[in-house]
């Protein structure tokens, strides 16, 4: 699948949820199990991406400078730092560790 095709397909796929919401009867909201899974699915997928992005490299599990960077990010989130500051600090920590360790 080419990247451009994927970009257009994914955009339409996300849009499909948004438009279906305006076309469907609102009784769909009343299914508690469906609503609960949809709610938890967001957390599960984002957490999975955190795992892949933070602790793997290619097809291998790899612990490196990203670990300490995530600890700093967590500390800044705890201190209610703005999103952009937290992200930039994580990048800086990882970059500095790699610089020092060669």
């Amino acid at each position: 699948m080419s990247l451009w095709f994927g970009i257009v397909a994914a955009s339409l796929a996300v849009y499909s949820w948004k438009i279906f919401g305006y076309l469907l009867p609102s009784s769909v909201l009343n299914n508690p199990v469906l609503a609960r899974i949809a709610n938890l699915l967001t957390v599960a997928l984002l957490a999975a991406l955190l795992g892949v992005q933070g602790f793997t490299s290619g097809t291998q599990i790899e612990l490196d400078a990203r670990g300490p960077a995530l600890l700093v990010a967590a500390l800044l989130l705890f201190l209610r730092a703005p999103f952009i500051v937290m992200v930039a600090s994580a990048a800086l920590v990882a970059a500095l560790i790699r610089l020092w360790l060669g």
Partner: protein
């Protein structure tokens, strides 16, 4: 009675602009991370214009970063983005009776139906303010998000090898930031922890991109049986 009305309008407008600007700021990280994942500037911009849903966009480029710009990885990126967009469907269900758009008039409000526009709309007391909150916030986030995406993409393009600047760590931190508000509750914390473990430990054995989808099952497990349910079950 003109004055209180003006004040109220001002406050909805200022909330909308504030939310739009704050959200736009993390558009910078999206732009930079997208380019470092292997998309070009135009592709990055098209995602912000057409997909216009932060979680789905970060998911798409996250899977591309792990799996590369071709083959099964792109398919997994599409499915990840799609699954992450599901909550927008629930927002749309809630916004439909408020906005009551008709026919083709549904196309634009649908595009603007995201976390922020829904949150600001539902936070207002009066119907008129709710509508205004939806439209102003949706428009403000759309403008700032796209503008900042472009700036971020150009910056990311100029930086070169993303690893030297720790952009891989920044991407992981972005996902942490997106789930952070949900980690205070034990059910969502458990779902997140299980998903991280599944995604990480299945990576050596599954095609790139697929571990993220498999980890999504943790939400089905906890959702079906409602394990560790919150004390007050409020489905928004």
């Amino acid at each position: 009675m003109a004055k209180p009305k003006n004040q109220r309008e001002f406050s909805v407008l200022s909330i909308s602009l504030g939310v739009g600007f704050a959200t736009g700021l993390y558009g910078i990280s999206f732009g930079a991370l997208s380019v470092s994942a292997g998309l070009d500037i135009v592709q990055t911009q098209v995602l912000s214009l057409l997909m216009f849903s932060g979680g789905s966009q970060f998911a798409f480029i996250g899977v591309i970063a792990a799996a590369g710009v071709g083959g099964i990885g792109v398919g997994a990126a599409v499915v990840s983005a799609w699954l992450l967009g599901i909550r927008n469907g629930f927002y749309a269900l809630r916004m439909a009776p408020l906005l009551k758009p008709l026919g083709l008039g549904k196309l634009i409000p649908a595009l603007l139906t995201i976390d922020e526009s829904t949150a600001v709309a539902t936070a207002q007391k009066e119907i008129a303010d709710q509508k205004k909150g939806f439209w102003l916030t949706g428009a403000a986030v759309f403008v700032f998000w796209n503008l900042m995406t472009f700036i971020g993409a150009v910056l990311g393009d100029a930086l070169g090898d993303p690893k030297n600047f720790g952009l891989d760590a920044a991407a992981a931190a972005a996902f942490l930031g997106l789930i952070w508000p949900r980690l205070m509750e034990r059910q969502t914390f458990a779902v997140a922890a299980l998903a991280i473990l599944i995604a990480t430990f299945t990576t050596p054995y599954l095609p790139a991109g697929v571990p993220v989808l498999v980890a999504g099952l943790s939400s089905v497990i906890f959702g079906l049986f409602n394990w560790l349910k919150p004390k007050e079950q409020v489905i928004k």
